[in-house]
Amino acid sequence: MGDIVRFLARRLIFSIVVLWFVATIVFFMYFVAPNDVARTLAGRQASAATVAAIRHNLGLDRPLLVQYWSFLGRAAHGNLGFSYLNSRSVLSLVGQRAGVTVSLVVGGAVIWLVIGVGAGMLGATRPRSVIDRATTGIALLFYSMPTFLLGEFLLLVLFFRLHLIGVDWFPGAGYVPLATDPLQWALHLVLPWLTIALITAATYARLTRSSMLDVMGEDYIRTARAKGISRPRILFRHVLRSAITPVVTQFGIDVGTMLGGVVVTENVFGLPGMGQLIVSSITRQDLPTIIGLVLLASAFVIVANIIVDIVYVFLDPRVRLN
């Protein structure tokens, strides 16, 4: 247990360094940038005095290092700043939208795990069969497909074509909170779920298949077979247990990345999640929101990486924390 604590402490320190690094890069990136936020906010007609007043209000007339220092201090206290546009705290903006992104990612993750790992297992247990070739081919097709293309395609087929023949199963856009109406919540999310799930599942199918094929070539599997253990037991207890580790890594990173905002899918389906907030705040030059969201997204990925490392130890006794 002492190992895990020491490991966690070390990872935590590294994570904080990374976050500081990210925060610094994003902060200075935006100050080196040629865009003048105050001028943008003031509008084209504004006088120089108005622009200066706005600049003063936002604290942008202070020396750069002073701004940087106060930014770091606030961030260390968990305050990500306030939006330039509506003066709301970035955290409250995020809180408002987190539900959408979490719903999207959790539902999608369940689907892509089932489809991806299932298809991979199917292929690995019958290598070079028709089923294997079919699943591998389909996986490669979705692997090559841009997310927005699949999203548009699903909209066209499952929303518009069905709508034309009078079947309105899946709404084309929008979001209904789970607490308001669970059924409508799920219906609104079916197409976005399918979009992220099908594309992500492709990677999992490829990963599971190759990883299982590798493990099935190991000596201890031959030993298990020689001992007369049944095939399903070998597959699930011996092969899958060992083959699942790269899948777990990928899963952690994917979920961590997506929780920071499912940029493309949210934009295609008009879901008011964090990914949409990022794109809209970037087009409106809302600096604090951009920095806050990038920091938050990085934090999710880092936390996901730590969780993956810990899960690894339980999955694979050969792995030592160091």
Partner: protein, 326 residues
Amino acid sequence: MASPEPDAVLGSFGADPAAATIVAIGGRGPWLLAWERLRRDPVAVGCFVVILLVVAAALGAPLVAHLLGHGPNTQFRDTGLSAEGIPVGPSKKFLFGTDDLGRDVFLRVLYGARISLLAGVSASGIAVFIGVFVGLAAGYIGGIVDTVLSRFMDVVLSLPYLVFAIALVSLVGPSLVISIVVIAMFSWASVGRVVRGQALSAREKEFVESAQALGAGNLRIMVVDVLPNVLGPAIVYATMLIPLSIVFEATLSFLGVGVLPPTATWGNMLAESIPYYRVAWWFVAFPGLALLVTTLAFNLLGDAVRDALDPRGPLARTRKRRWFRG
């Protein structure tokens, strides 16, 4: 060279020594073996043909424009749009129909290939170059250099790339060059990690020791002895990075932070076509199909190259970065 027939080899030991020709058995290096395997793989050859067609389309686009007598941005307000201002479908004049401004979709798809290929190939080229350089340095030099570079690669790999990329692009203003730089920035680290692992194991090999004994400098050993040993995985990664970069560029264009209109790119065209997908399927279908077929061909070829270079495929287990997610 082709492998000699068994009879021809045995022939030199045959009854008539005068008639027997001496057949040299050429040494077949790993590169030649891989090439032979690749050449016999019908999928690889097919993909290669498709890629050649895309390259031909990209290179020949201005020629086609010349033959057609109009450019990719020429607007046909009379013949290219219906009376209601809706794009017209495929016809003899417009092979793939027209878009919302009455422009020739066929010609725009051809021009889009230029951007996609340029972005895909140059971004992966830069990424592989940096990745090989950094990975080689980390793996071969080791010590503190390795620690610093490896940590740095970890940091780059743990950034939410799409969010970061959009944030970066929004700063400098979208353009093709910025897209390429951003794509390369977020993909070199995965190459670097693989190359580092390869260099780490190559460093312990006897040929490195013998080079050191001969008095070769570190730089020379890195370039002459270690580099060829990391080239295989680097090539595989390059082939697989190209489709990822193409998708990345298309995604940036689609989100409006890549190459800006009116330049024809597949991502731009798809973004413009959304409001019209109910009335003008050709406007969505052709750029979409072009994008899908191109990335699919590169991915299939990448798989084939990997299998050819290393039939056992340890690369199959490596963690891959995918940025088009989300």
